[in-house]
Amino acid sequence: MTPLFRLLIALVLALFLTSVLIGPAAVGTLASLKALILGGDGPLPIVMRQIRLPRAMLGLAVGAGLGLTGAAMQGYLRNPLAEPGLIGVSGMAALGAVIAIQTGAALAFALALPVAALTGAAVGIGLLVLLAGPRGGSVTLILAGVAISAMAGAGTALVLNLSPNPYAANEIIFWLMGSLADRSLVHVALALPPLILGAALIATTARGLDALTLGEAAAQALGIDGTALRWRLIAGVALIVGPATAVAGAIGFVGLVVPHLLRPWVGARPSRLLPASALGGAALLLVADIAVRVIVPERDLKLGVLTAIVGAPLFLHLIWKTRSGGRI
């Protein structure tokens, strides 16, 4: 294992622990850890195990998923500006969640929101398969993704437009900003299996993504089945992005920025970038989720807002560098 991977693993573990130990309840580190591991009576074990632990677990899993899918999408499309939201599945998941809030289902039944978001994601995948077809290339995939994202955006705008009162609209807008606050172990149980399955699928694309460095024809001539690679990649990204959006809302820029930041450190080879980006994404989202609790604890700063505030300037920097490199 290279020093970079050891460093990233240590960083993620340290941030995970920090995330578990940070919260509005001022409790000592030792007491917190004791309550987390040993349990006991009183409110502290409940706070640790049912509020902070799921939050840290989701920060790690969603961040890793976004980093991994960002690296996979960039590798597949051979474009450093690609990101996991590109195939439209996160937009459809958000639409599903927004409908659940609008109809009141989210209030009536706690899991209605993530389940509706997963349903939205599944509809998004269905549309993608229909539009991108069995034989289309990467351009068809991008165009289909753009179309689905646009439809999901229009649907979300319509729901907001028709919302019965400003409170419902407000709730929708806040949900869309993305957050890991007040998530339970049920959310973890809902998101983790598809996330792991998606990550396993994406891991199988590593060789194909490496070969694609030489272009689609050369990759095919190296024995890579382009169609199978594409479906594994789409399924993997969808299985990660759908559940991630369902439990955490729309969190942008992690999947875009993390692969870009780590690419020089792993020698740019896509197969090495995949695990590095997963670790980097987990670290970044854990940092962001710690930051929203530390910077203005009284104002409920949304996670997606913070990642966008940090990510957008990095994105500008990336465009600036790419432009001066003559690639745009």
Binding site: R78, R207, D210, A211, L212, T213, L214, G215, A217, A218, Q220, A221, L222, G223, I224, D225, R263, P264, G267, A268, R269, P270
Partner: protein, 244 residues
């Protein structure tokens, strides 16, 4: 090594390759010549099974990993998508082999390909930052690392300076002499005549002539395929061919 029988490719109901039958034996360096749009690239893609075709290609019928261990393919577009090192790029040639690049045999093949293309001093540099000619050498090294009996190269000397063109043709000729088969599409008829053991002339998707270079570079065939005639000048270094 490769048998094509009545290979046909149609695009949008228009035939782009018609009834191409061709075989290559070890030791042959076949130059595919013909005007732009004659079907040279299509022939190689169809032979490798990269595009759908009717007829029969012994290579396209093989399973994907076996096919990639039998024939390396250098596409016309010299694409390097990421700033990977020369060594990493060359190592992609080992993907079809068991181990995929990590075994001692893989490392030997990679070292050998890098040394053969004279890339030793570039091995740890970023391939994208090299000159066009150096990048072309890196991509050929990638194909050599694949260690296949057959090499299909689509316009391998296009865009290279004269020294690099000569070096590449010499390399392909040497590969053939080692017992491999090489098929390359080439526009420089003079270089093709000097180095290829056999020329295949394509026009409008059909093979119109196939044989030793001096049988193919005839005025009637050249005028039919390209609308040109050739001047032949005997020089101390061999036959020089001047299209007029």
């Amino acid at each position: 090594m490769l048998e094509l029988q009545e290979l046909c490719v149609t695009r949008r109901n228009r035939p782009v390759l018609t009834d191409v039958s061709l075989g290559i034996r070890p030791g042959e360096f076949i130059g595919l010549i013909g005007p732009n749009g004659a079907g040279k690239s299509t022939l190689m893609e169809a032979a490798h099974g990269l595009i759908p075709a009717t007829g029969r290609s012994s290579l396209a019928m093989m399973a994907a990993p076996a096919r990639a261990r039998h024939a390396a393919y250098l596409p016309q577009a010299k694409e390097i998508a990421w700033p990977v090192s020369v060594r990493d790029l060359v190592s992609l040639g080992r993907l079809p082999w068991p181990g995929g690049g990590g075994t001692a045999a893989d490392r030997d093949a990679i070292d050998h390909a890098i040394a053969r293309m004279g890339l030793g001093e570039f091995a740890h540099r970023t391939a994208q930052r090299l000159s066009g000619g150096e990048q072309a050498r890196v991509l050929i090294a990638r194909a050599l690392a694949q260690d296949t009996p057959l090499l299909l190269a689509d316009e391998p000397i296009a865009g290279l300076d004269p020294a690099q063109q000569l070096a590449t043709m010499r390399l392909f000729s040497a590969l053939a002499q080692e017992g491999r088969g090489v098929i390359a599409s080439i526009h420089d008829l003079g270089l093709a005549a000097r180095f290829c053991t056999r020329l295949v002339l394509l026009s409008q998707g059909r093979i119109i002539a196939d044989g030793p270079p001096d049988h193919i570079l005839r005025d009637d065939l050249m005028s039919r395929a390209f609308g040109i005639t050739l001047r032949r000048v005997q020089t101390p270094d061999g036959l020089a061919i001047l299209p007029v």
